[in-house]
């Protein structure tokens, strides 16, 4: 007698797989996701991808325009190279200009030894690309040009991304912790606690955002080291950001409180904190992830605005906002427009977050289709 194998249950895709399938349909969302992955990877590998250190000043190369990459030298193809530069004078204004020296090509080398940097605690000198500085130590490759002190803008942009891209993540973690706890308490207990927290939120929300951000960021003493300043800025942004989230969490908790499994958890004697954190919050997780993604750009823009105004990240650290501060002078931006290049990174990062977040929201939304 042979036993028939039990018929396999028809494979039902999990809700997560369904959401992933819906997410994949949004082309912009997928592009946004890949862009974000690329940006975060480039920030992680900043020191390796950057040809020079972010504080290295190249004397005589101040305000160098971006150097173009060439592959044809005097009509013959060649490995990628740049031209070194000579200093010249503008014939009309006598202003110092740099002229490409088209007689000698400077080939780009890959995996070269350069300035030392720290990568995940390891000290190393390997860089992805660079050029041989030559006998007079005067040949460089500045893909984005240099700033007023002759520092390589490309390196600074990559390393600045480490600050700009993490400010949002750290800020969100802080503000979501506060927001979830406050909103949870407010919705779960109700009554006087609720009333008090709601009044607090109302006052916080009626503060004009930027002025109070400016005021709070002046509290950070100028004598602090730049890592503390970084934390201070994140704290300031999070302090303003939690209020609107707490309000939404409260509403969700209010409705979740009525559900049977919450009553069941309470009946078996789970503590209030356990009920909130283990039973109510997990049900809000998709909502929270989406809100986090959509509110991250606000933190990135907030940090860049503060740094741009000189009240945020301080030297020797750098961030996209601080780099744009160098271009903030109306004269400078007219003469040296390449100083705006870090803004492109800022723009792409925020755009990618918006695409990604919108697609996530649509993917998690099962009702409206």
């Amino acid at each position: 007698m042979t036993t028939l194998p039990a018929p396999a249950a028809p494979a039902t895709p999990s809700p997560f797989a369904l959401a992933l399938r819906r997410f994949r349909k949004s082309r912009l969302g997928v592009i946004g996701g890949w862009l974000l992955a690329a940006l975060y990877l480039s920030a992680l590998l900043g020191g390796f991808l950057a040809p020079y250190g972010i504080t290295t000043q190249h004397q005589g190369f101040e305000y160098q325009p971006p150097q173009a990459l060439h592959v044809m030298f005097q009509g013959k193809p060649m490995r990628p190279f740049v031209y070194g530069s000579k200093t010249g004078r503008d014939p009309v204004t006598f202003a110092k200009t740099s002229v490409p020296d088209t007689t000698t090509p400077v080939p780009i080398a890959f995996f070269v030894r350069g300035e030392p940097y720290n990568f995940l605690g390891l000290r190393t000198t390997w860089h992805l690309f660079g050029v041989d500085p030559g006998p007079d130590n005067n040949r460089f490759y500045f893909p984005f040009g240099t700033d007023q002190l002759g520092r390589d803008l490309f390196s600074r942009t990559l390393v600045g991304g480490q600050v700009s891209l993490t400010v949002g993540v750290v800020g969100i973690i802080i503000s979501f912790t506060i927001g979830i706890v406050m909103g949870g308490l407010s919705g779960y207990y109700g009554g006087r606690t609720d009333n008090l927290i709601q009044r607090l939120i109302e006052v916080l929300l009626s503060f004009p955002r930027l002025p109070i951000l400016l005021a709070l960021s002046t509290l950070i003493p100028a004598s602090w080291p730049s890592t503390y300043v970084y934390l201070g800025i994140v704290a300031v942004l999070a302090l303003i950001g939690w209020a609107s989230l707490a309000r939404v969490v409260r509403g969700q908790v209010l409705s979740a409180r009525q559900v049977e499994y919450v009553s069941a958890a309470q009946a078996v004697g789970a503590s209030d904190l356990r009920v909130i954190l283990r039973h109510i919050v997990p049900n809000l997780s998709s909502f929270l992830v989406i809100t986090a993604t959509l509110s991250l750009p606000g933190y990135i823009l907030g940090e860049s605005t503060l740094s741009f105004l000189g009240l945020g990240i301080k030297e020797p650290m750098t961030s996209w906002g601080l780099l744009l501060k160098d271009a903030g002078n109306l004269q400078t931006v007219g003469l040296y427009p390449w100083l705006l290049l870090p803004g492109l990174f800022l723009f792409v990062a925020v755009l990618a977050f918006n695409f990604f977040g919108d697609a996530l929201r649509d993917a998690a939304d099962t009702q409206s289709r």
Partner: protein, 323 residues
């Protein structure tokens, strides 16, 4: 309606009181004080600095300083004394407040004039090329920080050989009497700030207008209007837009903080005589009463703007009643 308005205004007072107390605490928590700058100056002896501190009332405890300021505001509308400019705060702010409100209102008006038709258009032509471009521009507007828009436009204008950047007027026009030429000069200077402040608002408003327009177009009364043979124009403007615009009015109130913030940042970049640069400098100089008054002013602008948005909603939508 009048009682509602009055009640709302009265309700603002406690909020403003709390805001002023919090702002003053924040300002007082700043390291150092206004007179610190004199300590490093060899021309000032310690005694002189102490005398200045006493004269400015900075030797009193913070709570007394705050109490005096509040009492002055309530009884005499005296917003204190600006240490940095040696003048009452109120004379400092007067003209700047006018320009602030002017720039913000002009931006609001223009962004509505651009965003509403664009939203309607993209709602009707969802798949066209123009709609895709408008959508993409909407994303761009939300993603690009306002100061970067200003810098890009400045860079472009300077490249094109114009010099109308920074300030409100050309040097020749600053003291000239009002004339059409002066208005033209003003507009030539103002378009960059207005565009920079307004871009984000246009993007948000356009998306909202399209969404609510799409909602409304699938409603029964729009179908009814079509069925009874109303002209397309009538259906769009009298039935659809008339209802779709209501959420935007509430949104206008909510977009005020961005508008005020934008005006402040752009004014600092473009050197406009609004409250922005003054706030920035007073915070850095620890000119406490100026900073406090400006923080309060931006809060008042925000609260009044919200109230006006609510009133406008009640005026536009007869279903909304306040009692």
């Amino acid at each position: 309606m009048l009682t509602y308005t009055l009640r709302r205004i009265l309700g603002m007072l406690p909020t403003l009181l709390i805001i002023s107390a919090v702002c003053f605490t924040v300002i007082k928590l700043q390291p150092g004080s206004f007179t610190d700058q004199y300590l490093e100056d060899p021309r000032f002896t310690k005694e002189t600095v102490a005398a200045i501190t006493r004269q400015l009332g900075l030797d009193q405890p913070a709570i007394v300083q705050y109490g005096r300021w509040l009492w002055g505001v309530v009884t005499r509308l005296d917003f204190g004394f600006s240490f940095a400019s040696n003048a009452p705060v109120i004379t400092q702010i007067g003209e700047r407040l006018g320009w602030t409100v002017f720039v913000a209102l002009l931006t609001l008006l223009l962004s509505w004039l651009v965003a509403v038709p664009l939203g309607i258009y993209t709602a009707f032509n969802r798949n066209g090329l123009a709609a895709s471009v408008a959508n993409f521009l909407g994303y761009v507007g939300l993603a690009i920080p306002d100061f970067l828009v200003a810098l890009l436009l400045v860079s472009l204008t300077l490249r094109l050989g114009s010099s109308n950047v920074g300030g409100l007027f050309s040097p020749a026009m600053i003291d000239a009497p009002w004339s059409w030429a002066r208005v033209g000069d003003l507009l030539a200077h103002l378009w960059i700030p207005v565009l920079a402040v307004g871009l984000e608002g246009v993007a948000g408003l356009m998306r909202q207008m399209r969404a609510s327009m799409l909602d409304v177009l699938s409603q029964d009364y729009v179908r009814t209007a079509r069925a009874k043979g109303a002209a397309q124009q009538t259906v769009i403007w009298r039935h659809a837009v008339r209802n779709a615009i209501n959420p935007l009015i509430s949104l206008a109130g909510l977009s005020l903080p961005t508008l005020i913030s934008g005006t402040i940042v752009i004014s600092i970049v473009m050197n406009l005589p609004t409250i922005g640069p003054l706030l920035y400098e007073s915070l850095l100089n620890k000119d406490q009463y100026t900073a406090l008054t400006l923080l309060m002013l931006s809060a008042v602008l925000l609260l009044i703007g919200n109230l006006l948005a609510d009133l406008a909603l009640a005026w536009a939508d007869p279903r909304v009643r306040y009692s």
